[in-house]
Point group: C2
Amino acid sequence: MTAGLPNLSPQDIAALRAIPLFGQLSDRALSLLAGVALVRPVARGATLFLQDEPADRFFVLLDGWVKLFRLTREGSEAVVHVIGPAESFAEAAMFADGKFPVCAEAVTDARVMTLTAEGFARCLREDDRIAFGMLGSLSLRLRHLVTQIEQLQVQPAPQRVAAFLLRFCPAGDGSASFALPFDKALAARRLGMQPETFSRALAKLRPLGVDTQGLLVSVADLSALRDFVETPSD
Amino acid sequence: MTAGLPNLSPQDIAALRAIPLFGQLSDRALSLLAGVALVRPVARGATLFLQDEPADRFFVLLDGWVKLFRLTREGSEAVVHVIGPAESFAEAAMFADGKFPVCAEAVTDARVMTLTAEGFARCLREDDRIAFGMLGSLSLRLRHLVTQIEQLQVQPAPQRVAAFLLRFCPAGDGSASFALPFDKALAARRLGMQPETFSRALAKLRPLGVDTQGLLVSVADLSALRDFVETPSD
């Protein structure tokens, strides 16, 4: 095993650490991966891979820009993404053991790090902590993005409460009744609102046929409630 | 190795497949994991783990509801999340080899699947495809969420173009000049806009001291451009 990280500058290491997949890795794990990685210059216009080829490796772009595109039936290019420095690409295709869904071509002179599935699997066998570290950093990042989306998609309280109630209802139309499995204060907390807001939202659902008695809830018309959730209010 | 999935109903299997971590796993991989998992009923009010305990396992809630909370210095509970059926929790803590950041308590009678770090590592060693499958499904889901966030955070075109230009500029104040590494049509595509929209956006940045001649760009005042990106326009 090589000591240190061959061919990688301190900026490269910083770029690797900034990639979600590698965020939680130890120096030792990063060294192991760098040991099986190939770092090479790529000239402007060079093809990195073609659509439908087996995805047996993935890429980290250290310098330069790479375009990902599909070939249309008429033979023209539809650019789906342009990858910039310190971004990884094709990892989802490789891990899912599939084919590259797009073509990749360098649009500037570039420097690319390639990791093959086989080299990667060898590292995983050598050090359990690599899989754990990667799963950990992806899990943390997923959690963060889900929270961000929840904050961006702030629906009004009545809609959020209606969507929550629908989770306890069967599919289909008609009516439903059920008991909330826990108290309203906790239900409110789950939805990120104050208990008073939750109660006011419930009151606003009454004209839609939602009736509550303590923890017992009855919904007169499930499809009306679904429509209400999906319709943005003013 | 057991044949089939002991203690798991067809609904349980469907719930496992719906969890991001397990979405891409083969039946064989799911069987391996189920073979080292513990499925048990948990009574309402039972504690699953305490804040600051070593995170040596993670959980999939098959039925019921579980609250995650912190103890405040005054000894009261601050609920941070309520987990519902078919959700996993504590996996980020386990993979990152840390401590549980919260306490977990069942708020209803529940049925919980537990996977220990040790059992999990054993499965990873037994079948390379498990780590690949999990990394694949998390990568796909990350990509999907990032796209969703980009769509939710639609900034006006001039702000998006300004943010793109700033990626080529040094930190700090003052002025900067550089050449775009690829043509404006591709730059527009990267930002998900038509080339005409990109050109109109560039024109709108001119009063801010952004000048373009072909691919050459000069920015008179970096901090003014940064302010512009961060200020929502009407």
